[in-house]
Symmetry: D3
């Protein structure tokens, strides 16, 4: 877009102004001609480890998204010029029942995906990813996984925000040969926790390994592992250090910087990505919105990755 | 609405959910059949006394409005069942120029009013009221004023958020015989400040007088003063004590409680009200949103007052 | 206790010091010789209206309780000199399932009560009160209710933090002729909400009525209504105005002051009280701990009321 | 000051601007022609009960004082037009030693008072008042006391922020027949705490009594008690409820409103006041500066009271 | 200064004490013998992109400067021993008019510079830099520019905090061959934004390039570009990541660390620097003052750079 | 511990639940069979440089410790499976007297150490380390020191939180040939400050040197310097950058990241460590508890280091 055109663009509105849909995309559940939808999942009753509040994550990320001015210099692309994107709004989740919520998410995500629309979901705690994966499996079959997180989330048999990938693996939602976990660190519940995740199929790049071999090498290994498989990207904001993302439910020190996570997400370019989520943004523990702003930027990178892969 | 019907009502959605237009009214600038519009004025460059930040007031009030469950027990009315209300969104104000902003507000407010739609405006600092009054005068002629504020806002000749009523009076926007100021208090700039306001025409009920004669008597005197004149109600949230409304630009101790301001606003019932604003909500100084929640409730009372006066 | 004795008392420790059990009572689940137990219920997945975070309420109230220096001048009694009190610790609630949590609370509360120990429970959101009432019914039969709250909590048929008293009434946990609701206010979901509560049996003193007839008269009417019935007192901290209690999940403006709620709770003296709770303290929205400090003081009043009624 | 003169007055500068001495008074330790000095006492190592941080009180109160526009409408006086006031700056207290700090305060306060300059001191915790009273006794002999506080501060024999008035009484700094304590409330350490204070000489008006007989009657009784004695006024900001003054070290619920404390302080008019302090403002627990703003307003009332009593 | 001398130095005062001029330099507008002045520009009505509040930046930076103990070990110099520095105080800006404010800043900065005094200015939003550059051009002719910022600030033709360098270039204030921009990143408004800046003359080292070639190499290239030209350094605090500088108006993730910016600023040693500013510190979004403390440290480095270049 | 066993382990409780002793270790002062004790030292009257509040550090670190799930993957060890650890609770320090507090700490630490129990102490400000070192000298003789801190803490002859290592050296508590200081940076009070520390014996690795030679090399040099000497590790949380640890009394920009400090502490493995402390955590300046969480993790690493060195 040339400078003379910009003045008429809604993307030129200042961030303090207007009603915050994601990047001012229209709020709509009509999918004709739509490439991607932003869907909010304001559920936090799956947060079994420490703090709640992630139900207000979708709203905070939408507000922060108004700071995104539209053109991604790293990729040389303005994703909203390439893709038709709508803001789906929020699924009316059921706080008192994880099971009921799973059904609601599964059903609504399914209806979006079956219309041929890609989904970028905003959590909510990480338990929302399990029904999202079920919905993706319906359409795409078992998918490869890139999972950014401070925790492997395969802890035990219970269903909650810390165990979803165990269940996803056991339910056959994941192509276990194309499963990468990045950023695990911190004290764990028992000695074999990471080994158990590996046994389930995950290739785990803990934070220490990321630091030792470098994020570029990890990126190369992700591509090696995922190959051309269809890929779902799930990003728990706690993969980032609490200095950069204080607004989250289970903060874990020793995490990535904002530059590292941005670089790693951009490094996914070339994978065959079909779905995305950003979860565990908990605004009541944020300050100055820095966690939400980072999350919104990561969604912007997801949109850009989708746009790059589209005929656009 | 009977209980069985409520479950299908969007007003039943929990406050944490969804994209926050005011009380989930549709965002629209189509006025056919519309009774009232909520308009955001995210401008704070007129804040000449202390803190800025009121530009984020409209967004915060909208978010807080999702807590308003729709039925006003004090009045026995559900205003959104009676009135067609839209959320106009925000005027694209011009931060670097008060004058340019005045023109923009005047023009857009005018287009709403001339469509026969009543306006409830969300500030922004108090300087936004001057162009609003100009727009109301166009349609209604000089109006009576009920002005709730810790400050008389007639300080001097400059144009800013502390002088608007002097200008409004001098420009003939106000029916000076029907002008009430409620809640003035605190140190003032010079001895005759309140006397000057009175000389301009305002009947001033300072906070001390409200306490001495009681808010019920003040309410009676407001009615006596305003009579059947068309009335514009301008409410600077700093009329309330900082304990109840910390999120404001010029906090003044010794103010009203939330119960007092709610009661006084409800006490306006019976006046011939044609316009409303709530200004000076500054979210970066708020905590737990208590100022925004109070402001949203006051807008809800304004809507109820409108509804009571409508054929509904 | 004479001054010379105070120096050896743990109640003389400054509030910043030590591991916070409630008022430094021993953490114990041994009930021999124990009169009352403080029990934490860190559950907030029943919070269906707005903000979560009440799971951290019990911890915050315990910390604030260290400011309570032990002697209640209003009653002329040091409750911990009269009663043997233990801090039970927290029930290991199940965030992903309200139903499972209800069972856990019911079971553990029951084991305390059946040992002849009175319970003062710290929420958690208000959904915890339903299993508490079930446990009290087991021991005491249907009880009278004094319910302080901004909301009547009888909204509909779903089970969550806003409907518990409907269920309690329908399950026969409440002596419907001895049921008082105090402090209701704010917008409601439908016209008949309060009437429905009254139809169920509650005598509702809304905030407006409290202001009109005065809290002393309301207190008199509470005694009139409850008589000598066994009474359970449930206090949702949002009965207090957000200025005094910002740290709560569904803040409602226009509420009581701290002096009013203290006075009303002290006014319960003489009732035959057998159980208590304070719920909906949500620390991530609090500031300077003022909500928790108020809640801790209210628990202190509950302890004092118990002590006054004990042979001591 | 007429309106035309105001524009040249520094008191017309907006609050966000400039280096904050108290009300923009000159920072000076020259006392020729000076009527009163504002002195900061940034000491908080005497805070033995709960939270520290009051050492940053003087700075916060100075900043908040820039909101004071100079003319006191309640009294019809602009104190800075009547009095020559300087900002003395802070005493270089010694955090690691209460005793050393007492000497430093005593010495510097003494040098101000012996120059015929009245002192208004900004705490710091309440332990600073003891050396201030020693310095005042040197010049004025034993003084009458008006002590606003949630606590009687006569608890025991130790020297700290909770015992100063016991020591002041025992050292003969106080005219025990002219000693009033206002606002005591909350749990106390032992049954006779208030009786002990009364035995020492204090006429105690607890918060309950203030509410029962009314603040006007308390004011009358203060005048009756103090008569024409020289009076020192010590105001612990925790006399106010935490809703109005969260930024303090030992918050006590059930306190005064801002209107009540302002009215009571104004009610001291006519007493023969010779010294003042405001203590226990702890900014790291404040929000939006509301505690500091209230404290600054109370200092403004003190200045006004001094001005009313001056030949001016 | 030897240890024995330190005890008499005001720089030995603890940070919590005293009235905060910058590093306790005298507040003065007398320039005889003065080498440098710190000037506050509390203006934020040019903040057109997101959050206001930078008007309180100068005050917050001054307070944070009290933590600066005077000796710069990196350079082996105590700048205040070498330079005579005064704190000019704040320019009385005009919030309602950017144009009027530009004139005021231009005039006052000019009077300082024409007295042979170097200026270090504290913003305020970035719009203040345009009149500062005009004033510097008067004295020094077109200057070289080192511009640290997350944004290139050449967006379009409007005058505000995001376009100042376009105007500066077009007005001939800048030596376009000696213009370096460091730290640009994040989504931009249109594809050619950075190219446009380059076309205007700026050598842009975006954050990605800084990371790729390393800050040492960027520093080398800055020296290569600037050579011996007179240089003005403008530092928008948002060049730093929000983790390190949350208190700013337009936070941009993926920025520098505090170590990187300190190193880069120290790396300017040897350039012929004649003017400096730090802008966009917005205290109401800061926490624990970490943004202000970083800004104060950067000013300290500027003072050190000045001192190194002075005959001292 | 195998997965099947974990469900019965208290370490499996979620962090939001229960009364916070350190990692749910029993609160006890019985030392039979005990390997290590966690001791709180809630003292902050030695904080002479800027902000107080560290007295609430021990409580905040204990609460944050509930996030520590027990197994240290970096070391392959679950320290609480290897060591018997108790939470000693807090020493009843004396805020108004540093000297009295020193005696209390010395005495209680001595009684723990003489029972053969290792101590990990939680500050409080850094002045608490001096009596801790005295107590360790009694049992172990002069010890080697690894001191992580932004400041060398040897400033002058006064006794406070900024001078303790000067006194420790002069009292013979330190083996001066085995003394390492890591992380010094920022403006200092006088030119020779670091040289003076070196003259006293400290091998100082300032932050600049850490960056230049790398933390791995610094770690090698630490081992070289300390050799097989008994070592006391004192960690002032301000060694970390304020972005990662805002909650501290004297924040210093340009510090370590959380990953660097974790790596350096883990790098101490192999030293003959006998005592540890973490000091200067000041919760009222923290946000989202990120400073406390980091401090708790560092204590967890200390426990792991102790466990590795134990027969287990």
């Amino acid at each position: 877009m040339r400078q003379e055109d910009r003045n008429n663009s809604t993307s030129q509105l200042p961030a303090y102004l207007g009603i915050p849909t994601f990047m001012r995309c229209p709020e709509s559940r009509e999918f004709k001609g739509v490439d991607a939808a932003i869907m909010g999942l304001p559920f936090d009753s799956g947060a079994t480890s420490y703090r709640t509040g992630a139900r207000l994550g979708p709203r905070a990320i939408r507000e922060a998204s108004l700071l995104l001015w539209g053109y991604n210099r790293s990729f040389g692309i303005a994703p909203l010029d390439v893709l038709e994107v709508v803001d789906y709004g929020d699924v009316v989740v059921e706080p008192v029942s994880l099971q009921e919520t799973e059904k609601l998410i599964y059903s609504e995500a399914g209806s979006v995906l079956s219309a041929g629309v890609k989904l970028i979901s905003l959590g909510g705690d990480h338990s929302v990813t399990l029904p999202l994966l079920r919905a993706h499996r319906e359409v795409f079959g078992p998918v490869g996984i890139v999972h950014f997180d401070a925790h492997v989330d395969t802890e035990n048999d219970r269903v909650d925000h810390g165990t979803i990938f165990r269940h996803a693996a056991e339910e056959g939602l994941i192509d276990r040969k194309a499963w990468v976990q990045v950023g695990a660190r911190g004290p764990v519940s028992y000695a074999e926790e990471v080994e158990d995740a590996r046994e389930l199929g995950a290739r785990v790049f803990g934070m220490d390994e990321c630091e030792d071999i470098g994020t570029s090498e990890v990126t190369r290994l992700i591509h090696e592992t995922l190959g051309s498989q269809l890929v779902y990207v799930s990003l728990d904001i706690d993969v980032v250090d609490p200095a950069y993302a204080p607004g989250t439910g289970t903060p874990e020190v020793g995490g990535m910087t904002s530059r590292e996570i941005l670089k790693m997400v951009r490094g996914l370019r070339g994978l065959n990505m079909v779905g995305f989520d950003v979860v565990e943004v908990s605004p009541s523990y944020d300050h100055a919105g820095i966690t939400s702003i980072l999350a919104a930027n990561l969604v912007f990178e997801f949109l850009s990755l989708l746009a790059l892969g589209s005929p656009g």
